[in-house]
Symmetry: C2
């Protein structure tokens, strides 16, 4: 997937009509801060209600939490410490179901409220709404976005063991009790339909399908989660795994008056940095005093050829150390979700989860959560569909969508810059594949593509990977 | 597909809370008549706000149009007679695209407002919303249901011919100019994605896919329709093809105060009739004075082994002649849409289109718009998903969904009756396949399964079909 950066924030999109923001949807709250907003059924616009802003400028309380979590209050499904022993004893007597490593990532995601207001794995009504409408209607009639089915599969044997029991104990991959699922509902897992409606294809070779869905059982089990203790990975990265509540607290501590989220699963190059810094500049221009960037790499399952999380986190650290991004106005944290590579369907999940963490601006790239078609020589998704679908998605009306502007390496200026079509030949597009090839072959990318510290992390990773692969070759071939 | 009838309208579902109806969604209008309503995220409930009803009972105006068309006013895209000659002349100078027989059925559907507020074939924003969300957000923020992509495909050559022209002339299958498509937008037709997201499978053998999508071009063209004259079929059934506007007029003429729609593409047996008559009885019990049944067979494309439209219309006539349904309180008309066989996705379309025709009650069966999986030995859809998805679908909150109760042949009473599980062995389920086998082999179904006049229509059809098939066999085999 190309790492080239695109954004369509241009002055031609400026729109100073504040009333239209309030009116455009019954789900939209009245906001007392200037906002970007997406205009459904047309293209994206950029709104700056300066008069309204002036009116509230003098207000004394600055809160990051200008956007409420979906459904009102953040869920916290981790059992309080005082109850853990008794709940554990209770769980031991329940029928059990086993969680895979990726199921456990979902338990983590649900337990902290990333999927707010979901309180557990989906029951059938939620599953069907997610699959058909990409959103859930709550009991009070409000709509929240929910584009990915967040479900737990069990096999025939587990189903039989559970029988009519209302509650089930969930065991982690290591066999330890992790959680209780209450008031369960077991229903059919039609894998073909789930895959077709989530990915828009049933072609073999979709990473999440091969890893998670194909080997899974033919039943889904929904219910309310009680997690027996916070999910930890003990990989020396747990301190990066801030929950939505912890992130909101941190935004408050820094007195953020806008939070803009950047989802990524690739190393940060200077084109990304240009975009993020440019976004901050624009937010300042709009009147915000302290916009905070949430640099938010995805930390759950990724496909085999993606750069591993630990390497990415080290690379991101260097980017901040080297001053490419300002540590004062940037929070780096891990988004614990696994990756679906489901394009326009998944990008809604990526955005929705960040609302729950307090972000009211979301930067969307070209072909978000996209990949190559697994069996045909083309992108699986139209590269523009992600941002279009995101801008029209039900339940995301409150989020301000910021599409990328194209950035590429400017060979004249010797730096990453926004693409200028009047001198197209001066620009070099460096794809993710090309970047990895540079790192793998030890060749340096053009000066100014990435900060040197960050680049060294990648070079080191590919060197060690190659050494490892060489070591794994059978002796007969290595002679 | 089983013709057995199921309904879940039971007294245990009675719910007398009127406030909850008004509050449950911001899209729900305040209704001054008692209504059934579906309760999202739970099961279906039945509401009868008698006090409110009493308050309005004395009002003088009885109008059928208690439900407004989606988007407000019905579109009528047929060019007024006075303008037809000049529009035709104008169209002749435009680049052309050719319509298939089924494309023309869609032109018919759109032109009369069945797909209100759609004014033409979908542009990409509408297509994406339909595909991902099964609904469209209108400019004023309201949501209307739109579960099927209503699109027109063109091939590379047509696309080239159209070039940058804003307007295109549409020619019918016979080569005559039928319509103008204005302010067109051409975008990619990703067939695999469209099929996967619409049907939840990409298995070969889906009737609409094989007939329409696979042979179609790789581009879709959206735009606003101007239809040069009303679409007619000249098959002696045009008088049954009442437009939504004509139906509303007829409901008004009959002073209907409730309209309940029954979508079908099969002959009507006495189990169907039992259900329809029972629904009327219940509406009367609720306080309606004149509920009218819209018996609304689908008239567009159907798969090869379905009973043809002309035979069905003759059968339906007999059912009314034989007094199984009351002609005074029944309107038989043709719904001009082609059939997708897309189960839970399509049933939303079937229901939504009937709102536009003035129906505020919709009867939903088991496995609506379902069929066998084309390559596996199972139903393509979970038979319960249709009514579940329908009851939760965005944009259908105003429609009262009436799920079937199971009806079957009661061998003791010798008639179709609601299934009584306490004496299950007395009941005989007669599937559509079984019914066709009876008719084909000349065997009579049990007494009371269908009115004799209606049954004879089917016997005659299958006799003539067999004679035709026998005539088509090669001579060498017929000796």
């Amino acid at each position: 997937m190309a790492l080239a950066i695109r954004a369509q924030i241009t002055t031609t999109h400026l729109n100073l009509n504040f009333k239209s923001i309030i009116k455009r949807s019954q789900n939209t709250r009245i906001q007392t801060k200037p906002i970007y907003h997406s205009n459904p059924l047309t293209h994206l616009v950029f709104s700056s209600p300066m008069s309204t802003f002036s009116a509230v400028k003098g207000s004394s309380v600055i809160r990051s939490s200008l956007i409420d979590p979906d459904g009102g209050a953040l869920v916290d499904l981790v059992v309080p410490e005082s109850d853990r022993a008794s709940k554990r004893t209770e769980a031991e007597s329940m029928p059990k179901a086993k969680l895979s490593k990726i199921d456990l990532e979902w338990v983590h995601v649900i337990s902290e409220g990333w999927a707010n207001p979901l309180r557990g794995f989906m029951r059938e009504d939620e599953y069907l709404q997610s699959l058909h409408f990409n959103c859930l209607r709550l009991k009070d009639g409000t709509i929240v976005n929910m584009s990915l089915p967040i479900v737990l599969a069990i096999d025939d044997k587990d189903k039989e063991g559970i029988g009519a029991s209302p509650d089930v104990g969930l065991m982690g991959p290591d066999g330890n009790l992790v959680a209780i699922l209450r008031s369960v509902q077991v229903y059919k897992h039609n894998k073909e339909e789930r895959i077709a409606r989530t990915w828009g294809t049933t072609a073999p070779g979709l990473p999440y399908v091969e890893e998670v869905i194909s080997p899974a059982g033919n039943w889904l089990i929904g219910g309310d989660l009680e997690v027996l203790e916070p999910i930890k990975y003990n990989d020396s990265l747990d301190h990066y795994r801030l929950s939505p509540q912890e992130l909101r607290r941190e935004f408050d501590r820094r007195q953020a008056d806008a939070v803009f989220a950047f989802q990524l699963r690739n190393p940060v190059h200077n084109g990304h940095a240009l975009l993020m810094n440019d976004t901050r500049r624009r937010l300042l221009e709009m009147g915000y005093k302290n916009p905070i960037l949430l640099l938010h790499p995805l930390g759950g399952f990724t496909k085999a050829d993606d750069v591993p999380l630990d390497v990415r986190m080290e690379q991101h650290s260097k980017v901040l150390e080297d001053g490419v991004l300002d540590p004062e106005t940037t929070i780096v944290a891990i988004f614990p979700s696994p990756m679906h590579y489901a394009g326009p369907t998944e990008v809604q999940w990526h955005a929705k989860a960040r609302i729950n963490a307090g972000a009211n601006f979301y930067i969307v790239g070209r072909d978000p959560a996209g990949m190559s078609h697994p069996t045909e020589k083309r992108d699986l998704y139209d590269p523009d569909h992600g941002k279009k679908v995101l801008s029209m998605a039900p339940g995301l009306e409150r989020l301000n969508i910021l599409p990328f502007r194209v950035a590429a390496y400017d060979t004249m200026e010797k730096k990453m810059a926004f693409f200028d079509s009047s001198r197209a030949k001066d620009f070099l597009f460096i794809s993710g594949t090309k970047m990895r090839t540079y790192a793998r072959t030890g060749e340096n990318p053009p000066d100014g593509f990435m900060c040197p510290g960050g680049w060294q992390v990648l070079v080191k990773y590919y060197e060690s990977k190659q050494a490892e692969e060489a070591g794994q070759q059978p002796a007969v071939l290595s002679t």
